[in-house]
């Protein structure tokens, strides 16, 4: 079972990102997928998480993820707020939306780091909602590249499932561009 935690702030598309990933994984043939928001009330701008579980067998575990295989961070300002890295398993992947040079990010030994300037790509493709770039789609591209778990083809289908055709087109371009631009550092 692959356990993925999404970290972001209310309104950034954390929950939708987790859902599209689950949908794509199911389309790709994984029998067990779940996606869940943080349980409870949500506030715009407040740190929150969502989770995706992906497995060959139907999932029987609904409790919250303790240690993730992969953590996806939508908002780099969270790094100083939430200790994300210590909730990633040894050998796990840390995917982050940042405009920093990967060398500037401190990373625990044994983790794989994947950096993408998701905001820049979102803005380029005019993925903007209420004035803010929609970074979850580019991060799905980075996810595909860094994890090798879900292919771009199924993520595309997942986006088409969740979004209207006009909106999906720009998102698919952003997905592919992010896939290309993701920088990976094995640590």
């Amino acid at each position: 079972m692959h356990e993925i935690i999404w970290h972001g702030r209310g309104g950034q598309g954390v929950v939708v990102g987790a859902q599209i990933l689950a949908e794509a994984a199911y389309l790709q043939g994984f029998k067990g997928v779940t996606s869940a928001p943080t349980f409870g009330p949500e506030r715009r701008g407040a740190p929150l998480t969502a989770s995706t579980r992906i497995s060959d067998e139907p999932i029987r575990t609904f409790s919250q993820i303790e240690f993730a295989d992969i953590a996806v961070v939508l908002d780099s300002s969270l790094l100083g707020v939430v200790d994300i890295q210590s909730s990633i398993k040894e050998g796990g992947i840390f995917i982050i939306n940042t405009n920093l040079n990967p060398g500037q990010i401190k990373i625990k030994k044994g983790l794989k780091l994947a950096c993408i300037d998701a905001a820049k790509i979102a803005l380029k493709h005019r993925l903007v909602k209420e004035g803010a770039p929609i970074v979850n789609t580019p991060l799905l591209g980075a996810f595909a590249r860094a994890s090798n778990l879900i292919s771009l083809t199924y993520l595309e289908q997942g986006l088409k499932w969740k979004l209207s055709p006009q909106v999906a087109a720009g998102n698919i371009l952003a997905l592919k561009e992010a896939y290309e631009q993701t920088i990976i550092i094995e640590n």
């Binding site: 029998k31 779940t34 928001p37 999932i59 029987r60």
Partner: protein, 401 residues
């Protein structure tokens, strides 16, 4: 052809209610149930579902509307959680006493004080004695399947059915759910034909004050007293066991999903340690069982699907070879132990099965219950039992004492 979609438990429940061609919905919003009735109101607004959505000012009125609509022959649906369910308490008795086949979803949530919006099962377990059939679901597929079966059961035994599932844990978690097609559901669940319908052409007085004794009516017929009517409700729930199993078997033919017992089993065939519970916690326990087995502990899960009527015979059968029983539950009968634990022990009384029973009170007010925690707690219990310590014990799991 299977139509599988990834959806939350609340969506699964709404789709199931729509497939059942419900005619009247009355509900009042409360977390974590709200998105269920929101989805239903969208179905009605879009015309996908031809039903009347009655907006009310409280849960008490929501169930009262359902009682009235059911009395005039409609197939009705409502859903609620926690304080909403408690506010319905009086009408829960009324619905059951009136023998109305109402189906309700209870999206399980803890009860205040202190205030909590998070999951446990105190709300529905506290309504155990209202005369409702109670079904607990372990995942979203079971939510959809249980709602559809619930109408058939309710309309056959003339008793209301509460389909319970864990708030947030299932209600807000998306997972694949296979949706049967409308024709298949129609063949399984024909339109509701009530045995009596109150109408303007045939007005009469329902549920007037009833006396303790038998009494002749205006037509000279000796009618039941209160106690006879209560006896019949008890008989109905006793008979419901057969109906529930028969319904489950018929549903299995339709969908291939097996509901031929009032409980479900996971690796119980050779199990010496049997874990039991209701809803998602029992599902979580199956993953703990996998870990226990890796450690050489022969464990299994018997998950209670139907809590009322209590599956006495299924429990006796499922636990007949158990050497230790662990009851996991998200409720407590204060001053005693978990309600399910008492029922399990009572079912085993006199059968010669007299094994240690450890009762885990877990996940109250939404405290997460992890596979690892169940695994560790079972190991701990087994050590204590092996050392001859307390064989009958209530343990508050993951709780600062």
């Amino acid at each position: 052809m299977d139509n599988v979609q990834i959806m939350t438990g609340n969506t699964a429940a709404a789709i199931a209610a729509k497939l059942c061609n419900i005619q009247v919905v009355a509900a009042y919003p409360i977390t974590p149930q709200t998105s269920l009735t929101e989805t239903l109101s969208q179905f009605i607004e879009s015309g996908e579902l031809k039903a009347e959505y009655v907006r009310v000012e409280s849960e008490h009125s929501a169930l009262t509307v359902c009682i009235s609509a059911s009395t005039v022959g409609a197939r009705v649906f409502t859903s609620t959680s926690s304080h909403g369910l408690l506010y319905m308490h009086e009408q829960l008795h009324w619905a059951a006493g009136s023998r109305l086949p109402i189906v309700m979803c209870c999206v399980n949530r803890g009860v205040g004080a202190p205030w909590s919006i998070f999951n446990d099962q105190q709300d529905s377990v506290a309504q155990r004695d209202t005369g409702w059939i109670q079904i607990y679901c372990r995942d979203n597929q079971e939510i959809l399947d249980s709602v559809i079966q619930a109408y058939r059961i309710a309309e056959e035994v003339y008793a209301p059915v509460m389909v319970c599932y864990d708030g947030f844990v299932l209600s807000h978690t998306m997972m694949p759910v296979s949706i049967p097609d409308q024709k298949a559901v129609n063949s399984f669940l024909p339109p509701y034909k009530p045995h009596t319908v109150l109408s303007v052409e045939n007005p009469y007085n329902i549920n007037p004050v009833i006396f303790p004794w038998l009494r002749e009516n205006a037509e000279g017929i000796i009618c039941d007293g209160y106690m006879e009517m209560r006896y019949k409700l008890q008989k109905a729930l006793d008979c419901a066991r057969e109906v529930i199993v028969a319904t489950g078997k018929k549903y299995a033919k339709l969908t291939g999903r097996n509901y031929d017992e009032m409980l479900w089993r996971y690796k119980t065939d050779d199990a010496q340690i049997i874990l039991t519970g209701m809803g998602s916690i029992a599902m979580e326990a199956t993953a703990a069982v996998d870990q226990l087995r890796k450690d050489g502990v022969k464990a299994g899960v018997a998950g209670i699907r139907v809590f009322r009527p209590f599956p006495v015979n299924d429990v006796r059968k499922a636990f007949s070879k158990a050497q230790t029983i662990i009851v996991l539950e998200k409720d407590i009968s204060y001053g005693y132990e978990g309600a399910l634990c008492s029922d399990i022990k009572a079912a085993l009384y006199g059968t010669g099965i007299n094994v240690p029973v450890h009762n885990f009170i877990a996940g109250l007010g939404g405290r997460d219950v992890k596979v690892r925690e169940i695994f560790e707690a079972v190991q701990q219990s087994l050590q204590e039992i092996a050392a001859g310590k307390e064989s009958n014990k209530t343990i508050w799991l993951n709780c600062r004492k």
